[in-house]
Symmetry: C3
């Protein structure tokens, strides 16, 4: 039995150390905005780069204020209401919104939640690049931060009915990433493809991004931040036991989280590289990069509860499905998901959640049955996917109905940097970019012509059968 | 009453944990040099990029050695002398400079101070881009690191007379940022504008930076590092009470610091975006980015002592003043502050310090009067501004008097990359850059011609009335 | 004497705090891959950028899985076997590879080791840029991660014979950096220079990198990560004394490590700038950047055990040798070390290890003789250099023997982005890059012509005597 004074000492140590860790990883997760900005900027035409960058800046700036003023409370209310708990709205408001006081932990934990919310939000911007109106995108971001995402966390991490059912999502592979990926796909579907992305005869044109270097830089910044995202979700290095003793908190499994995150991302890059190379004979750089991210997404929901061979398997699958799903979305669904956010964040996140029972430590050590692990995952993924799809379709559908979903044809050809922002990202490089020129089934170059796509593995894999070079 | 052994245990925990935190945030603050390098490189012409990068590298490399050998001691001496304390110079020297020994905390704390000092130093480089001689800039950096900045910290954080007066600057909104911004404006004024920046008839030419992508990348790196800068200034997660018990140290307000930093930066981006859009109808990317930084600067001096609605208000104001002050500096003062360091770091920092009494928790909870909070801020800002202006004007004035302040006209037209460094930043892109060609009131392009600036909101907002396209 | 309960409390605090620190610095070290990617991408032609980026992504992805499955065990076995210890292979396997359990520390420590291993691996890619076949590079990386590097760590950090001898390498100045630099030089020598890098008459062509901005960004990211690399090698903020009391662990010297790392990098930049400027009259940006890194390499092996004036001296020397050794490798050895990895990582690392006795605190405070410090360093450097050279030469020699070491002449001229990856890094900028065109002794431009190199200090310093502009 410890003395009261010593107990207070130990409590202070636990509180200080845990806040230090949460703040550190929160900063890393915040830095993922730089990663998304670079990854997406690299994957769009030079005439749309500033637009992509502005959307990233405003996602954070507008979204985080909305999430503070509205979203955090909505999440708590939804969690309390659907979980049947005795949640007191007034209590949460008092903690979070009292301006003069406030124990440090409340605001630290709010910020920790906010960087996850803003990750979900920013994923969408990559899908709708190059044609969405800025006001539509920002309007959607406000609703995502205020309601759409908080409902999802209310159902789950906030103690709502999916949590009660046993749905497991450690760090947000579904709650954050699949949610963002599904929202992005839905938004891209509603607003339609970029001009000349698809041809009347069903063939597909590829519009390559303007800088592979920025895209890979973004990938590596994201992977860096993802260590905060996953390992940081082991949010309590220390804890106090019921008897008041100091023990490891969620750090008791932090080694597994660090290992699984590492193996998952590595296997994702290898899986995507292998499939891309099988299809085209060349190791496509962008697939390797996005495969690394898909591998991360794949293990994110189950990082602390799977065996390491399972991490490699999930990573390989999450990477391998990327070229296949990307092509399916492009050629069959005819949806212009510019930065491949659905295969990277959506399908990879769902895959990880559904693969969980196969790789769960609880299954392999016999302490849980397959079905007891599988059923909550299927239900949870379904509920989150349906809600996200419906809410996103509603919002972007409304914008479309009033003619505010996408820029005019002329502005899209001119580029959104000029029409929406009045800037030229690279005033000293390149000529006028009229990549919306009339072409049939080929790669649209900055001079408006159509490049022969055969030297390019990625292009080859994603281009129509009837690529032509006429009309140049 | 704890046993001596246990007291020693707890002291070690506090010391180890606190050093870990200080080191972590120090690394983040150091990383801000990458942010400044990218932000500034993106905002200069491609012919001056390597010069800007070299200045950033040398600011850190030369400056940090000077700050170790001279500056840290000067700061301590000034603090002791003007604060009336019993400071022992010999004691500080023994701690810091004894090569064989040294308790870890002394050098850790020195480095923590050094990254703040070097932040102030590097801000100046953005103001004098494109025409300052490298030797003048490096010479000024040496004096800044040795004397100019240490005098400011001596007056304040070092326990000098401003500290005794009650001047409050939590993380350096004035001491670091406004100091750097005022120094930059002064230096830019002394050395004069870039060739063709201003026309004889009073009209203004805009010289756009070469890469918005690098500028926004730099912005986001800076925001990441700023979490270290602000939240890290809550430098003691744990502390020992007078009775030897472990308590939270400055982490008792760390939640407020994290919240205010986040809301301030978000509101800054929104404030700048709103004013820029009001003026031109378009959401200028660079104003959004620099507005985010101005919002950060605005709350930096008061992060731990203001109510959160005040953080939003200060952020909005700091962002909103950016386009207005930038235009005032350009069109009225006719000073060529290339990277807008005065509106971002100078006026925003001053604004935050002067807004403090309005938003102070102590004012709102009635424990302090408005004037008791306001007067020390006015005095402190005035003293620091006058000292910084005078010292900077003296140094750059001396360089100018001996013809060493700026490069020759020919070298400026050729670009500093070639003339000062002998390199070509992008040898495979773009043609010869002769953006110094004769133009009147328009945007200077890389081909030496003048672009019609009307499609560009930012340009539009900052360009003279009589933009012309003759003399092409 | 503490109670058992309290002892358990303190143990948990020590374990939790130390894991938090190790994870934090591990993330920083991982982020160095972004630094290497940018540094190397910036230093190659635009036609080879995606190849360089892909190699960086695959180095990590393939290498880290191999290091988990094979390398870590090899290191432990080699350490136990050559150190004469009672190492149990089965025990290590049980700890590391048991999928269902696993104490957190084992996997955290493995990841900490893995990021060092992958740093050594990725250094090689910069030396063989622009002509190595991807399969040869990846094949070598697999062997490096599985055997070549683990043997080195087995000899040293793993408790092997060099450790027993007294060889000192704190954070891997030799074990990681010199190892990587020597491997890179050897590989570059075996596979031969890029087309047209050297002329039949013995003159040398310079092939400048495509983006100084990316190169400097990479430098600053590396410096940021290096704080994790060096300061993080002080891996235990806290420790338990033999009597169970909490004391500072390796943090007892962490202030020295932080100071020496800072002064070493700063002095490295200054040393390289001074020599480059002495030779050409201009401050070459790339030499300043690489000099900063060479300064870091120089102090890395001895960061915690040298006096601070020694840190400045070693940094200056490590920077100063860079232009000299680079030129020696290029003009005398005629080896095409594209990204200067030998002067930056190899010779600088060796220099630091051999300079150790001169600057050691143990020498200056009289507790150790010069020779007792010097001899183990000489032996250690020699053994590691010979092993690395032999193993690398064997592997790349085997690839060369079967015609798989480098791409075809046509593919090299076309660029590896197209031939190996099927992508165009910058589809909107620049024209076709045929920088392999026939030239004699000049800078090869993207248009295939030869630029007059005289305005360029760096070029000037590294170009042959008979630069000509004929055959254009």
């Amino acid at each position: 039995m410890l003395s009261a004074a010593l107990q207070s000492d130990l409590s202070a140590v636990v509180q200080g150390v845990n806040m230090m860790w949460v703040l550190t990883v929160t900063f890393l997760i915040f830095f993922m905005h730089a990663g998304f900005a670079m990854l997406e900027a690299g994957q769009v035409r030079s005439k749309n780069v500033a637009n992509q960058l502005t959307k990233n800046l405003l996602t954070w700036s507008v979204g985080v204020i909305v999430f503070f003023l509205v979203g955090a409370a909505i999440s708590t209310i939804v969690g309390g209401a659907t979980g049947g708990g005795s949640y007191s709205v007034v209590g949460a408001f008092a903690d979070l919104y009292t301006p003069e006081a406030g124990s440090p932990g409340v605001w630290v934990n709010w910020l920790f939640g906010a960087v996850f919310a803003m990750t979900a939000a920013t994923i969408v911007s990559g899908a709708v690049a190059g044609r969405a109106k800025l006001r539509a995108y920002v309007g959607y971001t406000i609703l995502l931060a205020a309601v759409i995402y908080p409902v999802v966390t209310g159902f789950t991490w906030g103690g709502g009915f999916l949590d009660a059912l046993g749905f497991y999502d450690f760090a947000g592979g579904v709650i954050v990433h699949a949610m963002g990926g599904i929202a992005g796909l839905t938004a891209a579907w509603i607003i339609g493809p970029r001009v000349n992305r698809f041809n009347d005869d069903g063939s597909v044109n590829v519009i390559p991004g303007h800088s592979m270097t920025f895209a890979v830089l973004g990938t590596l910044i994201l992977a860096f931040g993802w260590y905060g995202f996953n390992v940081g979700t082991s949010a309590s290095p220390l804890a106090l036991s019921e008897s008041g003793e100091v023990v490891l908190g969620s750090f008791s499994t932090v080694g597994r989280v660090a290992l699984v995150t590492t193996l998952g991302m590595a296997a994702g890059a290898i899986g995507a590289a292998a499939v891309a190379t099988y299809k085209t004979g060349k190791v496509d750089t962008l697939y390797v990069a996005n495969g690394l991210l898909a591998g991360l997404v794949g293990v994110t929901s189950v990082t602390d509860v799977i065996v390491w061979p399972g991490a490699i398997a999930i990573g390989l699958l999450a990477g391998a499905q990327l070229p296949i799903v990307f092509e399916f979305v492009e050629k069959r669904l005819k949806i212009d998901d510019v930065c491949a956010v659905f295969p990277v964040h959506g399908s990879a996140g769902v895959l990880g959640a559904l693969a969980y029972p196969f790789a769960a430590t609880a299954f392999w050590n016999g302490s849980a049955s397959f079905l007891s692990l599988a059923i909550p995952q299927v239900v949870g993924v379904t509920v989150i996917a349906v809600w996200t799809f419906a809410a996103t379709a509603l919002v972007f559908g409304a914008f479309r109905a009033v003619g505010q979903a996408r820029v005019s044809h002329a502005h899209e050809l001119e580029g959104l940097d000029s029409s929406e922002h009045g800037v030229d990202t690279y005033p000293e490089f390149g000529g006028p970019d009229d990549s919306g020129a009339r072409v049939d089934g080929g790669v649209i170059r900055s001079d408006g012509g159509v490049a022969d796509v055969r030297p390019s593995a990625h292009r080859d894999a994603t281009v129509s059968d009837d690529e032509t070079e006429d009309e140049l």
